[in-house]
Symmetry: C2
Subunit: 268 residues, 2 copies
Amino acid sequence: MIILKLGGSVITDKNSLTAKLDFDNLNRIAVEISNYLKSYDSKLIIIHGAGSFGHPPAKKYKIGEKFNLSNYQKKRIGFSQTQLAVKTLNSQVLNVLIKNNIPAVSIQTSSILTTNNKRIDSFNIDLVNKYLDEGYVPVLYGDVAIDKSLKMAVVSGDQIITYLGKYLNPDKIILASDVDGVYNKNPKTNSDAKLFKCLSSLKDLEQFDSTTNIDVTGGMIGKIRELLELSKEGVDSFVINANTKNNIFNILNDDEVNGTLITNKCNK
Amino acid sequence: MIILKLGGSVITDKNSLTAKLDFDNLNRIAVEISNYLKSYDSKLIIIHGAGSFGHPPAKKYKIGEKFNLSNYQKKRIGFSQTQLAVKTLNSQVLNVLIKNNIPAVSIQTSSILTTNNKRIDSFNIDLVNKYLDEGYVPVLYGDVAIDKSLKMAVVSGDQIITYLGKYLNPDKIILASDVDGVYNKNPKTNSDAKLFKCLSSLKDLEQFDSTTNIDVTGGMIGKIRELLELSKEGVDSFVINANTKNNIFNILNDDEVNGTLITNKCNK
């Protein structure tokens, strides 16, 4: 079984002022997934980010920040609006997948998951397994969640990956982003940025340019730390560029792709 | 706590050839719900039908009928399409509710429920309760489901009501339909149709005109049978006409409304 994460930056138009799907990119990716599934009877879970749909309302209503309970009603409306926004993206993603003959089934993350202080606290994945067993491609996504300490929080697609990676023991995890992999600096603004071909320990992370870590990676280090933890249990992850044609098909198909492998055993 | 069912005929345009929301009707109903919630701090669950969104794909792909497993892939696509169609309706409903300041949270039924031979087999309602406790209005809906014997089935809003009525012990159940209540004949085609003011036993059902039962009621008798079972446990149900202005507000508000009461104790 493979877990494929489609980053929000890959499937939505970040330059648009309003929530907008990057239809062309998503459709091309859907064709690649469909071609892979046609040839191989493999199980696949897709997780997508919230992109330009979820971030604006989550930011506007400060979902995940502490608040005074006298403002709870207003916050609830913000929660509802954010849930609806990411659900709208999810419907658009499902529409493209299904049109490409992928038997994709939406699993609304906020219907099966709660968090505690922004971390997944309970996650009922019974139906994720059932849909997989029946040959569907379950599609989960970054969503809002009821939070035990903060009342409400945002749960990222990345957290979902790590959780499913731990409990479903996939053959591999693919993180489809809009850059070629994990760099020591932001490759979009630093021409000397170095791509890591393979990461196998927290020590590798020391090569990150500490001054640019935060804006470069948007929490990339935390993500890699979690994927390194997973790699200790034998689950390898690949960070690849989904904007490069055939990358998704090739990585699904076990062909070589330029990118970063996160594993327990780099060949150095 | 109150459970309100909005029939598909109330919130979608049945005369439209394509899936179409009855925006005006839904918006008026949302205003009435919002006005009620403003005045009373009551818990509310909304369940809506699939109407002109769900029935065409479910019918096209014969969801819920036995099929040859060699056709499973085609059926899966039908399942996916039907799920997406009802989810689209659900998003449109949520949009109207939230715009009217109702803290509505969608709960995707097919993410938490399975059936066996078209009847609910498992239903994880933990999060329904959690959202209720946090002051949200959970919104569930008629959806597709994985079925233990038939592989896939349709689960109606009515089945969801009966299940939640049994396990959540609501103060009352409201079925908002497009007629004034339960009649012995189809009131739209029979000028002499008689409205039942109160139903308290299966014996009352003998007054139904047996020749017109099926097309009249679309399974109304089965539904009433289940609601009668619930009434034995003290949960009363009201069938009312949601197309009549203020009916929803009045029934939520415990004011008298023309309709059919299904209860253990009719005053005869």
